[in-house]
Symmetry: C2
């Protein structure tokens, strides 16, 4: 029996990744800069059409930045809603793709997609409660609790929690158009670039930017641990490629927790508790592919209770 | 067929509530101040023994303050671990009760217990993802995600998230022995009492204490919404009995969210989104009774993945 072939799209703040295949070892991929919605979607459709002639696609999964309407009973299901990302507000990404390809299309957040990818093939295998954070141009978080992807009312928007902001140490007011100095407003790649006047990858390792970044991420990790009690925290995204950053976040998060959560994972095994994605940059698109599989198998990934 | 009779204990920071019965409409109850562990447990045992002669108990559920070890494979399962509550650290509450009554005993956090009570009989009926916060002597939170009580690595400790602390407005350093100015350290009843030098119930409605309290609770609600995306937030606990407090938290939380989470529940229906427990002060003990039922029915409430 020939395995069914699926398509996955990860639409990120700066780039879109598309893949066709069956498993992480059997993928045709492409990626391009995220442009205006119609332009980006057209590029994705072209890729899927020209690479599925031999092996037709069964379904498409989309792992997208949000906020998204994931309520299948809603008139705006599949829409990107209030994103700060120029021109992507109120875009019906699901319908645009379904209209072109005429196969089932499902959508979830980029971070829930990446979480699913990591749970099936990567760093969260065997876990039922974990989170996946991305720290790049923006900050987002998703994951699974009790074995299901996190949805609830809508979906998590972990980048928009409020954390302590020491105005004396860091007079930068934050860049979130909705909240100013929320986590994303203070610690995203965009915030770093605006605060320091240069892109984060150009900041030297001894620049004070990194200590500040570590302290914000550690406060966020503390909050997510205290709120969800995840069995593991996976942190991906462009900024986390900075050498030593994840190790510094582990140490600082342990300081912030200060011995209150007395579990072996946190007290002794932090290296295995806060980890990089095993699938690297492909977590999102592989997760999108798994979303497509689930749609086809009738496992609702985005339906509400 | 005669319904099986269960026992429930809620051990809180200031009082313990015990109940025997089958449903919220069929309960014998007692309550007493939380004393040293052995004394409190003895009072509970006396109550259960003297009220179960006609109708023997099938199982006992405990909804307790934490942190608790809820890992059934752990050598310290059923222990209260690092609590700041004097003399309750490293107390094996499950074993102490089981040794006396010789029936199955299960335990979960007070807030998970209350959440379960509210889901079966109260304000969370029909929901699969919601949180239950208690704001009293301390602050705690639990709930359900995807239809299961929140456990993960351990259990949530929502009182210990960090929130912005405006030192100019509020020079009080916070009272948490582990974290200083975490949410519990700034906004618990204990923090209010220490900051203002009098117990919160004596503070008049126009005292600045209340505006500060509302702002801290609204920041916390923002963080829990952004992290978990609950379908509803139930807030109980002694402090919330202050007239007008929950309404003020609703308004302020909407301000903090600032229109980012565009759902009807938050944009239009905040009165039904942030609510008081329908079971009032009995949420915890009724939830403890439900924990006992689940143990007996073999539904693990505290087992790990």
């Amino acid at each position: 029996m020939i395995d069914k072939v699926y398509g996955g799209i990860e639409t990120g703040g700066t780039k879109c990744v598309c893949a066709i295949g069956t498993t992480p070892d059997d993928l045709i991929k492409t990626q391009f800069a995220t442009l205006a919605p119609d332009e980006s979607i057209e590029k994705a459709i072209d890729f899927f059409k020209s690479n599925s002639r031999q092996r037709p696609l069964t379904a498409i999964g989309i792992a997208s930045f949000g906020p998204l309407d994931l309520d299948r009973t809603s008139a705006t299901y599949g829409y990107i809603t209030t994103t700060p990302k120029h021109s992507w507000s109120n875009v019906n990404i699901v319908q645009k793709i379904r209209n072109q390809l005429n196969i089932p299309v499902s959508v979830d957040t980029d971070v829930n997609g990446a979480a699913l990818g990591e749970q099936v093939w990567g760093a969260a295998r065997g876990l039922n409660t974990f989170i996946y954070l991305t720290v790049g141009t923006g900050i987002g978080g998703g994951g699974m609790v009790n074995g299901g992807l996190m949805h609830g009312l809508l979906h998590p928007e972990m980048g928009h929690i409020r954390i302590p902001h020491d105005w004396k140490m860091d007079p930068y007011r934050g860049c979130c158009p909705f909240h100013g100095d929320c986590l994303e407003g203070l610690a995203s790649g965009k915030a770093m670039e605006l605060r320091w006047g240069q892109s984060p990858e150009k900041l030297p390792p001894d620049h004070p930017a990194w200590e500040l970044e570590v302290s914000y991420l550690a406060l966020a990790v503390n909050n997510f641990i205290c709120t969800i009690s995840p069995q593991r925290i996976i942190i991906g995204g462009g900024l986390m490629k900075n050498p030593g950053l994840i190790a510094a976040v582990r140490r600082k998060a342990a300081d912030v927790l200060n011995g209150y959560i007395r579990t072996e994972a946190i007290m002794k095994d932090m290296d295995c508790y806060i980890v990089a994605p095993a699938l690297g940059d492909l977590a999102g698109v592989i997760g999108a592919l798994e979303l497509a599989k689930r749609t086809n198998q009738g496992i609702g990934s985005s339906s509400k209770a």
